[in-house]
């Protein structure tokens, strides 16, 4: 899992049926100082996150499919699993 910031909403009509009813958001990965990196991912949103929110992204296929209730096969991989309130590193 990694920490990222939601940077946009993806609107798509023609898509795999697995994504029907799920919000797709672009999440830019943050480094441990809170700065944006160039790494990003289009994630399924399951926690009602919005643009600007700092979120936790789970980047693992079978867990993501379990969360959205589609066990077995399906092209789901990255999923937002939490909105971060605070990160404390060190003392």
């Amino acid at each position: 899992m990694y920490i990222g910031r939601v940077s946009g909403t993806v609107v798509s009509t023609i898509k795999h049926p697995l994504f029907n009813g799920h919000k797709l958001l672009t999440v830019t990965r943050l480094d441990l100082d809170g700065f944006e990196t160039t790494v990003y991912d289009i994630c399924i949103d399951d926690v009602q996150a919005g643009i600007g929110d700092v979120v936790v992204v789970l980047d693992e296929g079978s867990s993501a499919r379990q969360i959205i209730g589609k066990r077995g096969t399906g092209p789901a991989r990255a999923i937002i699993v939490g909105i971060v309130d605070k990160v404390e590193i060190g003392k």
Binding site: R5, S7, G8, T9, V10, V11, S12, T13, I14, K15, H16, F19, L24, T26, T28, L30, L32, D33, G34, T38, Y40, D41, I42, C43, G50, I51, G52, D53, V54, G61, T73, G74, P75, A76, R77, A78, V84, D85, K86, V87, E88, I89, G90, K91
Partner: protein, 126 residues
């Protein structure tokens, strides 16, 4: 999943069993701002409706094969959706959220912060 721009078609008559009928397209990977980023590669089209110049999103690794009609095929990238629009307008001062989340405890103890924080807008007195 990442953004990609379809830049061409690929024709292959001899394909692995299970890949028959699957369209193969050349795609240019894009960064989060939809600018070209990286080398062009081949992706299978799971939507069956993507065409040249279209903005799509591509899933990589094992999940790519899951998007196709036959699940266990040798594919490592698949187009799973066509992007109509990306809305990335900032709804509020998004940087201030990041700074609130990543503020370290010792930031409050010292008189100054190691990194400058964006200043919040002062309330106008009526």
């Amino acid at each position: 999943m990442k953004f990609a721009r379809v830049v061409g078609n690929l024709v292959a008559t001899q394909k692995v069993k299970g890949l028959e009928g699957v369209k193969l397209l050349m795609v240019q990977p894009l960064n989060v701002d939809r600018e070209p980023d990286g080398e062009i590669y081949v992706a299978a089209d799971a939507t069956n409706q993507a065409g040249v110049d279209e903005l799509v999103f591509v899933i990589a690794s094992k999940e790519a094969a899951f998007a196709l009609p036959v699940s266990f095929v040798p594919v490592d990238a698949a187009i799973v959706g066509i992007v109509d629009d990306v809305d990335d307008r900032p709804l509020y001062d998004e940087q201030s959220v990041v700074w609130k989340v990543f503020r370290r405890p010792h930031d409050d103890d010292h008189g100054h912060d190691p990194e400058p924080k964006p200043k919040r807008k002062k309330k106008t007195e009526s």
